[in-house]
Symmetry: C2
Subunit: 170 residues, 2 copies
């Protein structure tokens, strides 16, 4: 299945000069949605993953379906102040300044095998923050998976030494 | 399985006097996560659902896994300005003022059978907004499902005439 036919290009969004890859048609079609989730799951089928970690908001969509498919637990990483229990955090750089991702401090146990998933890898900043969160809690990172990789932004450089898998590349 | 044993009570969150029901332990455990998704799917198994609709952010988690399990497409409803393509919207009341939920205007086709899903029904305001969004686009609402129902807030009153299903009640 050519998944790119289910992705809609939106020029100048969220700002001028950016070509946004809109995955909502892919998610909304039962066949492409199932195909994409199954393909990522298949890549990790022998890895005995315990936890699939996704960050809000679009990352939740991919990570939750994948966790269900793989028979794993789902753990959310969220923007500051959104999680109700005790949290740990990791920072990542924005164009101007820094921001944080938070995770519950009991969400991952030492030696849990964790798969980190997101919809898109661009500069890799938030993915690197998720790696830091998992390792703070002693989790073992099985891989970092993306639906889409924007290769020209070189996000992989921030994830050297980890198993990176992306289903669709631009 | 007693799903309540996987829900953590957080007193005074997000503000004093509110007892928050934290579902992250339920999501993070592979057995309770699978049990909850399967139980909701089972309730709608003969309904020929086309689309599962979830609103950001926690709604995405339940709706995406459920869409995968049921072999449906997943459609997101989002806060204003988050969706990149042409949108429709519906309003809902806040404690002070109103807010909006948006959906892509091509996300649902006339006569699509749509299951609306969220993590919690409290006052029912955002669920009613999702109902309006689906009906604006001509979709047929098969049901409105929740992981948790806070029965003392009477949210069902805003959804009269629809099939409402909740897995856990307080």
């Amino acid at each position: 299945m050519d998944l790119k036919t289910y992705i809609r290009d939106i020029p100048d969004w969220p700002k001028e000069g950016v070509l946004f890859r809109d995955i909502t048609p892919l998610l909304g079609n039962k066949d492409s949605f199932k195909y994409a989730i199954d393909a990522i799951a298949n890549h990790y089928r022998d890895k005995k993953v315990d936890i699939v970690l996704g960050a809000e908001a679009r990352g939740f969509i991919i990570a939750s379906a994948l966790a269900y498919k793989m028979g794993c637990g789902f753990v959310p990483a969220r923007k500051p102040g959104k999680l109700p229990y005790a949290t740990c955090y990791a920072e990542y750089e924005l164009e101007y300044g820094v921001d944080k991702l938070e995770m519950h401090e009991d969400a991952i146990k030492p030696r849990d095998k964790v798969l980190i998933v997101d919809d898109v890898i661009a500069t890799g900043g938030t993915a690197a923050a998720k790696v830091k969160l998992v390792e703070q809690l002693g989790g073992e990172i099985v891989g970092v998976a993306f639906l889409i990789e924007l290769t020209f932004l070189n996000g992989r450089k921030k994830l050297e030494g980890y198993d990176i898998f992306s289903l669709i590349s631009y």
